[in-house]
Symmetry: C2
Subunit: 151 residues, 2 copies
């Protein structure tokens, strides 16, 4: 794991922040903070909301501002081509998390069901349509910190 | 932190997997594995590639199959509304990581530059257009494990 800034540098395998572009920051914050009950960090400021999810940070930011920061057009619609996954410790928790997301103002996209790979999962969309899979994987249990550590 | 499956359940604050839908799985794998040098997990199988990034897992999966798994249309174009961030320990590493991504077959979308919030950052797109910000944040250094832990 090196951070050497030479021409042949290989970046450390690292993902620190996932930023969701949102149409209405107050609505998005309410979904995650009040609805799901995920604590908002005091490091949040202005139009950026930070939520610590284990070792990674979820960030909420107005969609247009996010596109502008990346210097790309914010035009875009349909399937984003990215999904997030929230793994649970017990099979029955898949349906419970989907219900919690729905109660918080999300939408159940795929009800909890057995998956072809031997697990149990479903999907919800947050108020901006960002897709979260909720999954129970009996083959790779979460560690004590709630992290999924592959073999 | 509770996983109780009752009606008032609040899900644990947890993000375990980020899955990128890709047009060409071999090309995407080559970008991350050979280009960036990020080890592919032996837990990968069939048309799913897993890469452990600290406590979170990056997954690569054919875009159409990902949409089908979520039971949504795979139609979609333009800005996805989601960005990922890779934080670095030194300011000069922002440009170095962008160069490494470009050498690996990615595209520099925003060259390394000082940011209005006091850091230094840029963006690259992977071969499928997924946007990664590379950022140096002098206010919140990475911990020993490479994780960003907010105040």
């Amino acid at each position: 794991m090196t951070d050497r800034s030479d021409a042949t540098m290989k970046p450390a395998p690292r993902l620190n922040i996932v930023t969701l572009g949102v149409a209405d920051l107050a609505r998005a914050r309410a979904f995650y903070e009040d609805g799901l009950g995920w604590p908002v960090s005091p490091a949040s400021q202005g139009d950026i909301v930070f939520i610590q999810l284990g070792a990674v940070v979820l960030s909420l930011h107005p969609r247009a501002a996010l596109a502008a920061d990346a210097t790309v057009s914010d035009k875009g619609a349909g399937f984003a081509g990215i999904t997030l996954a929230h793994n649970v410790r017990d099979k029955a928790d898949v349906a419970a998390v989907l219900r919690a997301a729905e109660a918080a103002g999300g939408r159940i996209v795929k009800p909890a069901q057995d998956a072809h790979w031997g697990g149990h999962s479903g999907y919800f969309a947050d108020p901006d349509g960002h897709l979260w899979e909720v999954a129970w994987n009996p083959f790779i249990p979460l560690d004590a910190d709630g992290a999924l550590r592959l073999p």
